[in-house]
């Protein structure tokens, strides 16, 4: 079974992000970058499928040299091959998907995995776009999946419940938390990763359809107000909610 997993290198969710001097990108100094958390579920699912069915897992990431760190982590977790689509140009989801789809076409895998979204720009679009560009069926936000011959049965998360779906291979899956419990890179894996090469490939040049023009932090929360401590405060509270906050 040939598996491709697309992974991203994103700011650690714990770091305090600052907007850079250009006003439309983040200031990268002092920001810790990590493997996108949802991609960990995608990698884990690939590794499990390979352990069960044999085959090969290729991890691919689009970005600058810093993405090698994340590819190295995927290698340490156990993927067989790592490919960097080396390009630093700013991209929207469409042009990311285009580069990934063009690469994947050349590999013709049985299954393609991505995280359901990157925690940087949170578009949650790349996976579906890749499927569309490749003309493949897709299952997004998957929390459970099984492969039986040429058929996939999967469960996706929907508002308030799960939906069970079926489709044929090849297909694109985007992973949601809960799909599995990702492994830690073992120390042996880390040592082995050192000797595995990271292949560099020139991706399709960026042709973004959407440009970021500005980036803003949400407005700071204003201080709370205590109207009173017992029932006598209710009329005033209702008035404020209606007239000032305009929520009722």
């Amino acid at each position: 079974m040939k598996l491709v997993v697309c992974i991203n290198h994103v700011p650690d969710t714990e770091t305090k992000v600052k907007i850079g001097p250009d006003g439309k990108s983040i200031d990268r100094t002092g920001v810790n970058f990590i493997l996108n958390p949802y991609d960990e579920f995608a990698i884990e699912e690939c590794l499990r499928l390979r352990e069960k069915n044999g085959g090969e897992v290729v991890a691919v990431s689009l970005g600058g040299d810093s993405h090698k760190e994340t590819l190295r982590k995927a290698l340490a977790m156990g993927v067989d091959k790592a490919v960097l689509l080396k390009d630093e140009a700013p991209r929207d989801s469409f042009s990311v998907a285009q580069a990934l789809a063009d690469f994947i076409r050349g590999v013709s895998p049985d299954l393609i995995f991505l995280g359901k979204q990157s925690v940087d720009s949170d578009d949650a679009a790349v996976g579906m776009m890749v499927a569309e560009m490749l003309g493949l069926p897709s299952v997004s936000v998957a929390v459970k999946m099984e492969v039986d011959g040429k058929t996939i049965t999967a469960e996706r998360e929907i508002e308030g419940g799960h939906e069970k779906v079926e489709c044929s291979i090849p297909a694109v899956i985007t992973a949601q938390k809960g799909l599995n419990e990702p492994r830690y890179p073992s120390l042996k894996g880390i040592m082995a990763a050192k000797s595995k090469p990271i292949e560099e490939v020139q991706p399709t040049p960026a042709q973004p359809k959407v440009d970021v023009v500005a980036m803003k932090k949400p407005p700071a929360k204003s201080a709370g107000k205590i109207v009173g401590a017992d029932v006598s405060a209710v009329p005033e509270l209702v008035r404020l909610l209606r007239e000032e906050a305009k929520v009722i």
């Binding site: 714990e14 190295r72 830690y184 120390l187 042996k188 880390i190 040592m191 050192k194």
Partner: protein, 596 residues
């Protein structure tokens, strides 16, 4: 960055100036070392810390289950050679793993006792058969080990142990009798590395298995801290230990004991630095959210002072730990692990830095004590409540000044071992001291190397002065007391304090200068401030210790002459430490985790 292949000698830091490329710093970690640190950190955060309550309550099986999981990840095999199921990694990786495991308190002690004092005696002193039999099981966590040196009547004075061993008539086994005390991991260990005296004389190490006849453990000790680590006595009543389970040479148990302690001290230092970093993160987060007088307490100067001081000391400790790790790795790198003499060479390499290992143990355990104490203070009444994590950190910290050689014993060793090395001519400290002394009597100013660059030039000069002061005092004390120096514990202790302070200042300075070279002065502003405050305060502490020593070893005109020199050596303008600490605290508050 590659290290120079000419090795720095243990204690040599006092004798010359170092270029920054001679000193390994955390910013030099390889990608692989960083990944090992990350995987360990993740394991602790996701597997161990969520179960800390179960661990603290010693819920049956939890500690062992987590040790096995750690084994699957490779966290029990870093120091075990590949030939015996281990990974045979460098010491920097060992230290990084210890650092990341440190915040787990009790569990860190269980892990450390198993992988350090429990495993390493066999790694370094075991026969081929012993290594084959035990190490793969230790690496996987299938068997848990422990170390049993102390007894009720012999703690610091470990060699006065009373447990005896007698060869059986058929010469196939030793019969051991006695009670060992304070075994970490005893409650679930399968193996106890135990010391006893053959025929009441020859101090010898043995590998004892749980199921050998006559072996049992006592009740759990009720402890002040690390409550989740098992600590029991080991009771040997005509215990039968096969002769092939003698570890190392008969009558040479002290060699096993002392060498293993060197590594234990070094690992302990890394572990407490990890704990300190975590506590700093908790303290600053709390200080930002806790409001009193209509302001987060993080805005108050006295709280900033505490937070900044925690950071400064931890930065110094961290710099010392990895400088030493780098120095040891530089020696070990040249050893061929296939060589049958490899174990001996490795031990010799580590022993070279026995002085540094003792310094690290004392200095870093006292950093953590400072950090947890002030963290409780920042939490106010809530720091005193078990609802918050700092109470546990406070209790867990205290043991580090007691085990792996008490801090008193390690203070005696620090300057004591250095003097011994000097007398043996292993490092040219005494000629250096004599030259300084002659210079003083000749009325000339003792030379220190001129600072090389602009940045932190005054600090470099002061550290050079600190080195000369230590060397001068060590030489003078050695000459005055000769072989009676052991009776002058206060003098030895004060000189050790000066040595540590000097090593800390220089390690931090070298790291600071190197990071400035790497990232530019602008991005390293906090580092530069931290070093300036550390050196200013450090020189005051050195001055206090030096006065104690000088007033003990000299009087009259001689004392006056020495004091003139000391004054010159420590003369400096104070730095604006208030402004610098505020700046460090503000940066910390922004990051909400340990950062300089």
């Amino acid at each position: 960055m590659e290290q120079k292949s000419t090795h720095v000698k243990g204690g040599e830091f006092l004798l010359r100036t170092f270029t920054t490329d001679e000193i390994f710093i955390p910013e030099d970690f390889s990608e692989q070392q960083i990944m090992i640190a990350q995987t360990t950190e993740e394991f602790i955060a996701k597997e161990v810390l969520p179960r800390i309550h179960d661990i603290e309550e010693m819920k049956e099986g939890v500690a062992v289950e987590l040790l096995r999981k750690a084994g699957e990840l490779g966290l029990l095999s870093i120091d075990i050679p590949e030939a015996y199921g281990g990974l045979g990694l460098d010491k920097t990786s060992t230290m990084l793993a210890s650092e990341k495991i440190g915040p787990s308190g009790s569990w860190a002690v269980s892990h450390g006792a198993h992988t350090g004092i429990g495993t390493l005696p066999i790694v370094y002193f075991g026969t081929e058969e012993q290594k084959k039999k035990y190490l793969p099981k230790f690496a996987a966590g299938e068997w848990i080990s422990s170390y049993s040196l102390s007894e009720a009547g012999s703690g610091s004075d470990a060699l006065s142990a009373r447990t005896t061993a007698v060869l059986s008539k058929d010469r196939t086994k030793y019969i051991l009798n006695g009670t060992k005390m304070w075994l970490s991991n005893a409650g679930f260990a399968d193996v106890y590395i135990t010391f006893a005296k053959i025929d009441g004389e020859k101090f010898t190490a043995f590998i004892i298995e749980k199921d050998f006849p006559g072996v049992s453990t006592g009740a759990e000790e009720k402890k002040l801290g690390i409550k989740g680590s098992s600590t029991r006595t080991l009771i040997l009543e005509n215990a039968e230990v096969p002769v092939e389970n003698v570890l190392g040479e008969i009558g040479r148990g002290h060699i096993v004991a002392f060498n293993i302690l060197n590594i234990g001290r070094f690992k302990l230092a890394a572990s407490v630095i990890g704990a300190a970093k975590t506590v700093i993160g908790e303290a600053v987060k709390y200080a930002k959210t806790r409001e009193q007088f209509n302001s987060p307490i993080a805005n108050f100067g006295l709280i900033k002072h505490k937070l900044a001081e925690m950071v400064i000391r931890t930065y110094a400790g961290e710099s010392m730990v990895y400088r030493t790790a780098g120095a040891i790795d530089a020696i070990l790198k040249d050893i061929d692990s296939a060589n049958p003499e490899a174990s001996k060479q490795i031990l010799k390499g580590i022993e070279e830095y026995a002085v540094e290992c003792a310094m690290l143990k004392v200095y870093c355990s006292e950093i953590l004590d400072y950090v947890v104490d002030e963290a409780v203070q920042i939490f106010g009444g809530y720091g005193y409540s078990e609802e918050y994590p700092v109470a546990r950190a406070y209790r867990d910290s205290r043991i580090n000044r007691i085990f792996e050689g008490t801090n008193e014993i390690n203070r005696l060793l620090t300057s004591g071992m250095l003097l011994k090395r000097s007398v043996k001519g292993e490092i040219p400290l005494l000629p250096h001291a004599k030259k300084l002394f002659d210079d003083i009597l000749g009325g000339s100013r003792p030379m220190t190397d001129q600072p090389s660059g602009e940045l932190l030039a005054a600090e470099q000069q002061l550290i050079g002065n600190a080195k000369n002061t230590v060397v001068l005092l060590l030489g003078a004390a050695g000459q005055k007391y000769l072989d009676k120096i052991a009776d002058e514990q206060e003098v030895l202790g004060a000189i050790s304090d000066m040595m540590m302070e000097t090593y800390a200042m220089e390690s931090a300075l070298a790291r600071g200068l190197k990071t400035v070279q790497m990232h530019g002065a602008e991005k390293s502003a906090g580092v530069v401030s931290a070093i300036q405050v550390l050196v200013d305060d450090g020189m005051s502490r050195i001055d206090t210790s030096a006065r104690l020593v000088l007033a003990r070893i000299a009087e009259g005109d001689m004392l006056r002459t020495y004091m003139t020199v000391l004054k010159r050596m420590t003369r400096r303008m104070p730095v604006n430490s208030v402004a610098m600490r505020r700046e460090i605290a503000d940066r910390l508050a922004e990051a909400e985790r340990y950062t300089v």
